[in-house]
């Protein structure tokens, strides 16, 4: 059965060791983690973990059940089952030679990004978007010379209130 990308949104008790329980579950059972993002929610004591994994259907079912089995997991949503919005933030440090500076700024403008740091030889660009947008800007900036990238990993919400 074909592997597909699944975005899991996991509400957990905000307690010490919870992340390690989830990471340990994935490593111990041989599941993949493509990206992982953790932060508090509006509700006190509850955090949301957005986790992207690659798995076929029976396996993703098993992953969701195993996550639910963890005592500190409150609820697991598979975002991929329905309409959702996703975003990721990346910071890209790109080599900015005098002859490239205008071009880079044009790309930044087109992609509605921001330059957050300027050096003698570089720009650091903040870009927010879905995976496609991030991939696109990377491929456009690559010829100028990307020095470093830092990414947050994906976060996601359902379109409808759940």
């Amino acid at each position: 059965m074909a592997e597909e990308k699944h975005v899991l949104s996991i509400l957990v008790d905000n307690k010490p060791g919870v992340l390690s329980r989830i990471a340990g579950l994935f490593s111990g059972r041989g599941y993949n983690i493509d990206s992982l993002c953790v932060a508090e929610t509006m509700e006190e004591g509850v955090s949301r973990i957005t986790l992207v994994t690659q798995a076929n259907l029976p396996l993703v079912e098993q992953i969701k059940k195993q996550l639910n089995k963890l005592i500190n997991v409150i609820k697991v949503f598979d975002m991929t089952e329905t309409e959702y919005v996703q975003r990721e933030l990346a910071m890209i440090k790109v080599t900015a030679k005098p002859e490239n500076r205008a071009e880079i700024l044009r790309i930044v403008d087109i992609f509605r990004c921001k330059v957050v740091d300027v050096g003698a030889e570089h720009y650091t660009i903040e870009v927010t978007g879905d995976e496609g947008k991030l991939a696109a800007i990377r491929s456009l900036l690559r010829p100028m010379g990307i020095k470093e990238i830092a990414r947050t990993g994906m976060i996601a919400l359902f379109r409808d209130v759940k």
Binding site: V12, D13, G28, P58, K69, I71, I74
Partner: protein, 563 residues
Amino acid sequence: MKLSGAQILMKTLREEGVDTIFGYPGGAVIDIYDELVKTDIRHVLVRHEQGAVHAADGYARAAGKVGVCLVTSGPGATNTVTGIASAYMDSIPLVVITGQVPRGLIGNDAFQEVDIVGITRPCTKHNYLVESTDSLARVIKEAFYIARSGRPGPVLIDIPKDVANTTVDYKEPGDVKMRSYNPTINPNKRQLQKVVKLVEKARRPVIFAGGGIILSKSSEELTRFARQAQIPVTTSLMGLGAFPGSDPFWLGMIGMHGTYRANMCTSECDLLIAIGVRFDDRVTGKTDAFAAQAEIVHIDIDPTSIRKNIPVTVPVVGDCHAALTTLNGMLDEADLTDIAGKREQWFARIGEWKNLSRLAYVQGETIKPQYVVEKLYELTGGDAIITTEVGQNQMWAAQFYHFNRPNHFITSGGLGVMGFGLPAAIGAQIAQPDRLVVDIAGDGSIQMNIQEMATAVQCRLPVKVVILNNGYLGMVRQWQELFYDKRYACTCMDHAPDFVKLAEAFGAVGLRATTVDEVETVLKKGLSNYKDRPVIMDFVVDKEESVYPMVPAGAPITEMLLV
């Protein structure tokens, strides 16, 4: 009310109904022990912390309660890991309390410090590092609730020394409410109605029951269901005793060392009703070939067990007891006219399989291990609580001792821990002081926790140890014989101790049988005498006897080596 952490621990343990603790003191738990001896809780001083956990496991199964251990930090804690992992695999409710260095020293590589919460995260149902004396009572209550509810399992509580010896204003923690933990008890009725429809329709049904029946105390409901619906029953190793071994519907155990007819039935059936099982690889063999003609119903309280290894037609999440009670009620209303007639051919077929190959052995000049187990069964009337070590001894116990009641067969099924049987027998004997408790052991595995003889002697427990002594690590030797051209790499243990003298050195009784004639004499003597101390019975058996039938690992379970 001002109470120290140690006092709160004792108070809460009493409220949870704890009357026995298996443990071993150490620096980080001195404060707790100082309070423990002031209570009426019985403390069983083991000789190794692994023994404490297996004993608590045996106690939990024989008593039907949560088993409790208390050990110190560092090595005390790490020594519990094997026992915890075994209890986790077999879904046995335990609360394991470990001491920890004071909070201010955590993370400093302090003396006898280890991150036991980190180490046991993947082999406990849940675990806690207690952060403050104020939270201690709530944590203990949650731990017991988690250990015994849903699919039971071990829970570890790590208590820093200064949490135990700080005094606080005690407040009642109240009832346990956990938003993130709500096991499904009552199964979906629509799913169960589908099961009844399948039962009505099936021509060749089989029930495959497991440890979940014993844990949920549903043996009677299972027996009623099988008889009412006219369905033969096999069980996993963990399920032995869940269905009477003397019942005409009994097929014997399934799997790698299961009976011919149980494995054939599973392969040929058109409906497999699996209840309280998890389809271990020792049960299924090659999964593609497992019950390939059947619609499969799987009833289990743990959703992760369902569709993990085997595709299922009707999944039912819920407690086995609730499911079987509802199913029995539905069967009362169902159309079961001429159900016996419908099944007649199927039972005839099963009879043929039974005649074709039974569990058997040929008793020659040397003692056959199966003969010892069979004699033990006869002499105890099948009434003893049997614990086992792991390997051939475990399989012969499963095959030749017939279990008619639940909670009488106590074995490390999932993890397969050698050295489990003796401490588990100690725990079982403490839970059931008036019952006969026998550990069926091998000469290899008994040496793994033999130090617990001292515990049994100190507690004056009349535990019986039957050693099937073949001088080999027999199960591995058997694999080497069958699949490795008899290259017996490191499986010959030709320097075993003299078990009779060893027993005597511990202050126990040692008996030995070397001829077939002596078997019964030794068993009779060992079983009926010595009410105040343990007995080791050393049976010098055929060195190269193997366990049959055997399904090679990964083969379909119908491909059995029969002799």
